[in-house]
């Protein structure tokens, strides 16, 4: 905001507006800080997974020079196959981490504070239920995808750096390695894929879990998965169809229209991957899903008003 240059009349008008903005954003900011203090697994779990993988990768580097020599440097695609598999594995690991962290977070988000009675402390402060729930929605929809992507990208850079050192030490070309990896593009693709396929496409599932964590007195995990399973089972039994099951599985395991899926499956962070953001953004499935998600969140906000320790 450009309050200083507005002159006296402008700053008089903008002051209450600024104050109002501060009044709404400060509690939201601190509610987010609270989520990150409380749920450190959001970054520790992906870090630990990446760390373990990195360790295994470093050990495997002993064989790297031999593998490079056996691959033909002229055939870039074959070369990439040899080189890039571990990088794809890290990317896949972080996609999985993103989903698992979000699931565990959402199932506990509005349940844990009731179980440990701290909801009475949170409610004794001038923070509205809407702000609290919004902070808990921001975690799986902004924080988790960014954190997992950042950890994945950082891990890949460390892997590439250490590989370069090993290759240099064995007198092999580093340039081909970096050229075939094209890390910046892989990073962007990872961010794109995590956001589209593992964050906003399955949004209704995450928001459903948030709603369940706000509703039940016990076992939110069971309450979150059993009713949808029961519906899918009933459909199978009565109509011998599996629309519900396919729909739910498709939501969760990413049948998002993010890539043009050709005959050959190509890994989503492969630099050759062809992305179609326009198709994604214009798919009705995405927007219907987001609308349902918003509905779940609104119900959760209303419910939290009535919630007390369990």
């Amino acid at each position: 905001m450009n309050t200083q240059s507005n002159g006296i009349s402008g700053s008089f008008e903008s002051q209450p507006i600024t104050a109002a903005v501060v009044r709404t954003t400060r509690p939201l900011y601190w509610s987010l800080r609270r989520e990150l203090w409380e749920n450190r697994f959001i970054y520790i779990a992906p870090l630990a997974a990446a760390g373990l993988f990195l360790l295994a990768f470093l050990i495997s580097l002993i064989h790297l020079p031999a593998r490079i020599r056996s691959a033909s440097p002229l055939n870039l695609e074959q070369y990439r196959e040899v080189i890039s598999r571990p990088y794809d594995t890290v990317a896949g690991l972080m996609m999985l981490a993103c989903m698992l962290v979000s699931v565990f977070y959402c199932l506990d988000a509005l349940y844990g504070e009731r179980r440990d009675r701290s909801i009475l402390f949170w409610k004794s402060l001038p923070v509205s239920d809407a702000t609290t729930v919004l902070a808990k929605v921001i975690v799986p929809f902004v924080i988790v995808p960014l954190v997992t992507t950042a950890i994945g990208v950082a891990t890949q850079f460390v892997m590439a750096l250490v590989s370069s050192v090993v290759l240099l030490a064995s007198g092999l070309s580093v340039a081909t390695l970096w050229a075939s990896l094209s890390l910046p593009r892989m990073s962007l693709l990872l961010l794109y894929h995590i956001l589209t396929a593992h964050t906003y496409w399955p949004a209704p599932i995450y928001c459903w879990m948030l709603l369940v964590s706000c509703s039940v007195r016990r076992a939110p995990f069971l309450w979150a998965i059993l009713p949808p399973l029961a519906v899918a089972g009933a459909e199978k039994l009565l109509f011998h169809t599996s629309y519900v099951g396919d729909l739910l599985l498709g939501r969760f395991f990413g049948s998002a229209p993010t890539q043009a899926s050709g005959a050959d499956y190509i890994f989503p962070t492969n630099p050759m991957a062809h992305i179609t953001p326009a198709e994604y953004m214009s798919s009705p499935g995405l927007w219907i899903g987001l609308l349902i998600s918003a509905g779940f969140v609104l119900v959760a906000v209303r419910l939290r008003r009535y919630r007390e320790p369990i």
Partner: protein, 291 residues
């Protein structure tokens, strides 16, 4: 100006009536003891006042509807619901940061000054603190808020005598003034007797006694009566009678002090004894009650 204004406040859980039409008028600068047996509706009453539960009937707290405007109300109201509600994972400095962040009336320096008098380490997590220290921490957080109404629901439950004494001492000396109001519920009535300005008994969702402590002192008298004078004393219509130290102890409401002095030694009753008398008469008559 009035802090709490309630008319015909009702709350039911299914067929159970938790609040059965309460009228309440609380002025500022009071310390009110809300005393009642388990399940009398104390916590329910406080929850409606704090906007934690919906209610029927009219209720205004600091001119706001607590159920609809809880978040705004909490700028002027704070409460300690229970000693164990601070999140166990939280570190002391995080609690200070968070309060400073979300509460416009929180004075961090004040909270730190309170904490400096304790042995609480700023880096400790709540789960590492003893029960008494958690209560001290919560009190430090709450007393650093420039609030107009403070609600304490069993704030000293499970604490040892030293902590309980300190708790009320700091509340009176460092916090309370004529612009603030405090409502406290407790079962340990003997330790709040000299703290309160007002006394309220609640039973089965109704307020059965509501008086200031001056009225309490003026209205109620307890007389230690020797066996030979018991008959004369009973003629003065005691509201309760019990035995102790070889004498009968009779409790009177609005009795003539001179007549009482003639039958025995007169003194001010404890809140606990009055509680037993009032609740005993109200509910099933207990032993020793004569009507």
């Amino acid at each position: 100006m009035s802090v709490i204004e309630a008319r015909n406040l009702r709350k039911t859980f299914g067929s159970t009536v938790a609040l059965d039409g309460i009228d309440l008028h609380v002025e500022e600068g009071r310390i009110i003891g809300l005393i009642g047996p388990n399940g009398a509706g104390k916590t329910t009453a406080l929850n409606t006042i704090l906007g934690l539960a919906p209610h029927q009937g009219e209720l205004r707290v600091l001119s706001r509807d607590p159920w609809k405007e809880r978040d705004q109300l909490m700028r002027d109201v704070c409460f300690i619901a229970d000693v164990a509600v601070l999140p166990r994972w939280m570190r002391v400095f995080q609690a200070l940061d968070y309060m400073e962040g979300v509460h416009p009336r929180f004075d961090r320096a004040k909270a730190k000054a309170f904490l400096a008098k304790t042995t609480i380490n700023g880096k400790s997590r709540v789960r590492e603190l003893s029960k008494g220290m958690v209560a001290q921490l919560h009190l430090a957080l709450v007393m650093a808020i420039d609030a107009r109404l403070l609600v304490l629901d069993e704030p000293t439950l499970g604490l040892d005598i030293l902590y309980r004494k300190q708790f009320y001492d700091s509340l009176l000396n460092d916090y309370f003034d004529s612009t603030r109001t405090i409502i406290v519920t407790t079962h340990q009535v003997e330790e709040v007797q000299n703290v309160l300005t007002d006394l309220m008994f609640i039973d089965r969702g109704r307020i059965v006694l509501n008086c200031t402590m001056e009225e309490f002192d003026a209205r109620y008298a307890e007389v230690m009566v020797r066996p030979e004078q018991v008959a004369a004393a009973r003629a003065l219509h005691p509201i309760h009678e019990r035995q102790g130290l070889g004498r009968s102890i009779l409790l009177f409401d609005r009795a003539d002090r001179q007549q009482l002095a003639a039958v025995g030694e007169v003194r001010t009753p404890s809140i606990a004894d009055l509680f037993v008398a009032v609740m005993g008469n109200h509910a099933v008559p207990t032993q020793g009650v004569r009507k």
